[in-house]
Amino acid sequence: MSHPDDLALLRRFEPIIRYTRGEWFFPMDVERYVQMCSLWVKQPNRYPMRIAARGDLTLAKLADQRPFPMGAVRYLKFVNPLSITEMAALQLQKRLSFEHDAESFDSGPGRLARVGYSSRLIDALFSLSLLARGRVPGDTALAAARAYHHLLEEEERYTYYGRVVRRFGWTVLQYWFFYAFNNWRSGFYGANDHESDWEMVCVYLSECEDGRSHPVWVAYASHDAHGDDLRRHWDDPELERVGDHPVVYSGAGSHASHFQPGEYLTELELPFLHPVTRFVDRLQGLWQRVWPYDNNGNNGEARWSSFSLFRVPFVDYARGDGRVIGPGAEHSWAAPELLEPLPAWVSHYRGLWGLYTRDPLSGEDAPAGPMYNRDGAVRRAWYDPLGWAGLDKAPPPHQRLMQVESRQSDLRAAKARLQAQIEEKSYELTGLGVEMDAMQGNPHLAQTRKAVLHRAADVTAELNALKAELAAKETLAESLGRYAARVARGERDPLRGHIRRPHQPTTHAELRLNRFAEAWAAISIGLLMIGFVLIVLFARQYLFWGLGLLLTVLIFIEAGVRSNLTRLISSFTGGLAILAALVLIFEFFWQIVIGIVLISGGYVMWENLRELRR
């Protein structure tokens, strides 16, 4: 049942979305989209079958629950690929009309220039894989844009779907945005294209003393963030607000939500490279442990945190320099549609909201609705909006003190139990001690004394464990007491203490890549491949040496371009030192062992003599 003021709450905190110039698709209502779609089903080992034709499909029909065999996938089809003449006409029209914005999109320093050599190689393989994988045809985005803009011309309406969930003292406002198409790959050099897109923003409210709800947290669905990293405190400076409206910077084409304007480097890990990625991560971890500090005295973790060799890099452009939708902006939201009571098209339709390409990596398949994942399972953001943003462990502010006091009370009870157990065990132990004393000088009681000794050892161990637990509980109680005092005084927890891996836009320093860096990024992989072919054709006998030399030169140029020579030299020298050490160990194993023993002996002797002299 919806609460009477749900709509008012949703409107009060509805977000303002800032898009990047060149964005083609904006939040729309699903009804008009569905009317333009046909409904299909793909059963295993069968050709796709159309269930409802375009124009016949309605939201009510979409919710129709017909049984399908196991493995069947229902999906919508928004547009058909264009013919050559339509494409040509559209290209011409594009120059003149609605896609003017898209023309003005400037990618800036290319994503390839921002990442390293190996990532670029993986990227080339990823691009090649699109030839073999199921994918959305290249002209579909253009056709979808045409269809969507016809809809906009008929009626310019921007809609979101609202849902209000009340759980454990929190009131969660969910704003669901539906887009007709995700053209991240074809429009903005991103990872994928797919028909339809669902995005979500959550505002978490808590009750004040006066009974009014006030915002505490905001969480945006994003590519790389999970759990705690998804949310920001309402007072966090990173969160931009206009009055009570949080500002969302939407990724161009991808529609992923960001708190700050900028260009975000997003990494996609290919499933088949996962073991390699894990191995490299472990190797880097080992290196950090061996030499944890760099020349600036910084911990090496920060130095390597973004170093990911086998992930495909993509830039998500969330510049916020395009269309703005929201209260006070040039375009405002239409009256929101409440998902309460739950419409049948949300709960009954578990299929995809766009083309099913059968992409094994799933990136090109359309998403399912707001309630479901592609596999038909319920989305976590739907059934557990608190846990989705890591809030299941955080009580709302108005319940915090009560929770702390309740925890203190639990702790007091636990301490009392422990103390009672300790007293009981101490009593038993002293009794055993008395028995042992009494048995001394009585050889005929040797067996009994042995049993008592064993029992005493066991009780001592139990007693020690209980005492340690009690000490830990006392420390925790002390800490809780201080925390309770802070909460009672109205002090807040650190605003950003929960964030483990903040996703920040690329800084200006990182974007300070010159034209040469960009050109180098564009040609380096190609040069490597051409060089390889030339060596094979003209100097095959030097294949090993030639390839090694070519790679070395390319790697050194790359490191120079990226001002990364020191790191390269460090890695190069470190690797050679390890190899050299292995050679020496192989050649002089026993001598090294003897040397270590002699040195250790000498050191011990020297230390002891020093002690004697004191």
Partner: protein
């Protein structure tokens, strides 16, 4: 600041330079270019490159230059010293797998010791990266 660690590193680099000069002289007197097969193959050329006195002499020069700029606390000194160790280890490893001259183990052992010593926090702290412009944190 010229700490004791830096002074010791400078001394070790000087020592390395002198040692490499001696080795270069030894290689010059022992390895006669006319003894090499003609025409020279690519691997033969590499062998010559890595075993000749020229390579050792170049490393010796690099070691003395490193020692000098180490003493002057130039920001590039640490990187150059590390590069020197890398090149010396590379030379040593190539020689180990090619001809195994007696001195190759000294090259390897001393190189390893120097790498460990250069990674000493005291030595590294004397050459902060900011001095030559912090390197941007870049993904792979």
């Amino acid at each position: 600041m010229r700490t004791w660690s830096v002074k010791i590193a400078t001394f070790l680099l000087c020592l390395q330079g002198v040692g490499l000069i001696i080795l270069a002289y030894y290689a010059f007197t022992v390895l006669a270019p006319e003894a090499l097969p003609t025409p020279l193959s690519f691997s033969g050329f590499l062998a010559l490159l890595f075993t000749s006195s020229t390579a050792l002499a170049c490393l010796a020069a690099l070691a003395l230059v490193s020692a000098l700029i180490f003493l002057l606390l130039r920001p590039l000194a640490w990187t150059l010293a590390l590069l020197l160790q890398g090149l010396m280890l590379l030379l040593g490893l190539v020689q180990y797998f090619q001809a195994k001259p007696f001195y190759v183990y000294f090259l390897l052992g001393f190189g390893i010791f120097m790498v460990i010593y250069l990674y000493n926090p005291d030595v590294r702290a004397a050459f902060p990266l900011e001095a030559r412009g912090a390197e941007p944190e870049v993904t792979a």
